[in-house]
């Protein structure tokens, strides 16, 4: 429906109705912004460094004694996008179970961090990696060797988890 009365326009004073000062004002702003520092980032040269709270690509923590994961399958159960597949087996090490197969389908992963939140062994954590590129669908399904990351590289996140989660 159209309102025939434009009350807001009637409240304008003479200078505003003239509109010419507005053009000058606009051009003045353009000049002002030309010399202001830019807000945008020149991405590939200037990289974004996330803090410990960042939820990037989920990875498996790799310690000196192998992976921490005991293949309980809780991450696979909680995953809202059904991206994780785990197959368990037995081993001679101190923790008697280990994952024979641990796959994350990165095309399905929604980076919600639920796998990390429920993990009883602190074995799967969210890393800082955000530029994840694949050239085929098969490549996007990450196996155990792609997922294992040394503990030292994940210190920021592990400290953050210990303090705030």
């Amino acid at each position: 429906m159209n309102n025939t009365k434009n009350t807001e326009a009637e409240r304008l004073n003479f200078m505003e109705k003239l509109y010419l000062p507005e053009i000058a004002k606009g051009l003045g702003l353009t000049m002002k912004y030309m010399f202001k520092p830019k807000f945008t980032r020149q991405y590939p040269e200037e990289r974004f460094e996330p803090t410990g709270s960042y939820r990037g690509r989920p990875v498996l923590v790799d310690t000196t004694g192998g992976e921490r994961c005991v293949a309980c399958g809780l991450c696979s159960r909680v995953c809202p996008a059904l991206a994780i597949e785990v197959q368990a087996s037995e081993t001679e090490r101190e923790k008697e179970r280990y994952p024979v197969k641990f796959e994350i389908n990165m095309l399905r992963c929604i980076f919600c961090g639920f796998c990390e939140e429920v993990c009883p062994e602190e074995a799967i954590v969210m890393s800082k990696e955000y530029d994840i590129v694949f050239t085929s669908q098969e490549e996007a399904i990450l196996g155990k060797e792609d997922l294992l990351v040394p503990e030292e590289q994940l210190q920021d996140r592990l400290e953050y988890l210990a303090e705030y989660k």
Binding site: M1, C112, P120
Partner: protein
């Protein structure tokens, strides 16, 4: 010979006409001519039109440049979230709510967790409630900034969109430090929040909140007394007060018509009862009124953010009820009971008692409600999402009919529909 004379063709036509008439008389039906003069034009706007804010399709019937009929068609982004919810535990559904109103995911997270807590009959701890209020107010500001920018862009002021995007970017940086993601936050949890906010982030929010009014003034000073902007906004897309109530509009779309309905004031949830703020209304009921309500609400939200930062207490962020709420991570690692309840909770879910509950919050777009029917298991038997954009879009045809074709973009912008939420 297959060629017929003119006379033969005429006679065939006459016979056909007589048959049609006989058929119509026999069935006692009538024929309606929608457009006897044949000067109407049917125009499809969307679903790929940049001004429709997503995948909204609007079918317009035009007489010259005047819209005489407007039919919004929804459903292009339908992903079946209500059905999907039935096959997920309550906890697993939280990330899905990020994708409803994707301009204010924090609000949606708060809404779903409040609904689940209501169904479970419990209340989150004090600090969690304050943090939830804080993040939903920040989400409101970021959503209104986007609404303001896109409305301005729809009527031709592209600069404002770029400026509001910068402010939104700063807010998303804050969200990223709060929860780890800029857009898909998944921050709230049953019985509290996912993780605590540290003091550096709170200081960052305060710093942003102190700078923001200056920037907002800068935005508004450029366009609010601009004659072209006012001519394109004021007096267009009128929605009278009674009609707005009849159609069930909520949020700024309703308050722009002069109805002071705001769930934060009417049904105080979280800590809104303890905060000092005003419900912004405008009496115009046009595009300008709805736009101004959003701009005014940003200042009110900012006022609340300051109050929350001053008053936020320290304390627990999640309830200590291991059979419904996720235990602390350090306790999962060290204690057997917590470990067992972690497994039980994830596998079977927190089960509310048999029954039905409806919980609504005032999201940036209006009343966002979750109607949960529980059958006593960890999965909802039925979850109905009352999304504000769906209801607000019902008013679109009333606003658009009778206005000019060029005004439809301003009208859609003033309703501020988010198709992720409207189509669910």
């Amino acid at each position: 010979m297959n060629v017929k004379t003119r006379k033969a063709v005429d006679s065939i036509n006459k016979a056909r006409q007589a048959k049609i008439y006989a058929e119509l008389l026999d069935k006692d039906t009538s024929v309606l001519f929608d457009d006897p003069l044949k000067n109407d034009m049917v125009l499809n706007m969307g679903p790929q039109h940049p001004a429709t804010h997503g995948v909204l399709r609007v079918v317009l019937r035009l007489d010259g440049e005047t819209i005489i009929k407007c039919v919004p068609e929804l459903g292009y982004l339908h992903r079946g979230y209500e059905k999907l919810a039935e096959n997920l535990t309550y906890h697993e559904f939280i990330p899905h709510t990020d994708r409803l109103d994707y301009l204010a995911p924090m609000s949606n997270n708060v809404a779903i967790t409040l609904a689940i807590e209501n169904a479970l009959g419990m209340e989150s701890p004090e600090r969690a409630q304050w943090i939830r209020t804080l993040v939903s107010e920040l989400a409101r500001i970021s959503s209104h900034l986007m609404a303001m920018g896109s409305t301005c862009m729809d009527v031709g002021a592209l600069t404002i969109l770029l400026w509001t995007f910068v402010e939104r970017e700063k807010l998303y940086d804050i969200f990223e430090e709060i929860c780890g993601a800029r857009f898909t936050t998944s921050y709230s949890r049953i019985g509290g929040i996912a993780n605590d906010i540290n003091d550096t982030v709170l200081a960052k929010i305060r710093k942003w909140a102190e700078e923001f009014p200056k920037n907002l003034n800068h935005f508004t000073s450029l366009i609010h007394r601009n004659r072209i902007f006012i001519d394109r906004m004021a007096g267009i897309g009128l929605m009278p007060r009674d009609k707005a109530i009849e159609l069930g509009l909520t949020g700024p779309t309703l308050r722009g018509s002069g109805v002071a309905r705001d769930l934060r004031k009417d049904v105080p949830y979280l800590v809104y009862g303890r905060l000092d703020f005003d419900v912004m209304t405008r009496t115009e009921g046009d595009v300008w009124g709805r736009y101004m309500v959003r701009v005014d609400e940003m200042s009110q939200s900012l006022k609340m953010v300051h109050q929350i930062l001053d008053q936020m207490p320290k304390g627990e962020i999640r309830l200590n009820e291991p059979n419904v709420v996720l235990p602390k991570k350090s306790e999962i690692y060290t204690k057997m009971e917590e470990l067992i309840s972690d497994f039980m909770l994830i596998n079977f879910g927190a089960a509310p008692e048999k029954g039905e509950t409806y919980t609504a919050i005032e999201s940036p777009k209006g009343e966002l409600g979750f109607y949960i029917v529980s059958d006593g298991t960890g999965f909802p038997w039925r979850m109905k999402i009352r999304s504000p954009s769906t209801a607000n879009l019902q008013g679109l045809s009333h606003m658009a009919e009778g206005s000019m074709i060029s005004d439809i973009v301003a009208i859609i912008g003033s309703v501020d529909p988010i198709m992720g939420e409207a189509d669910k």
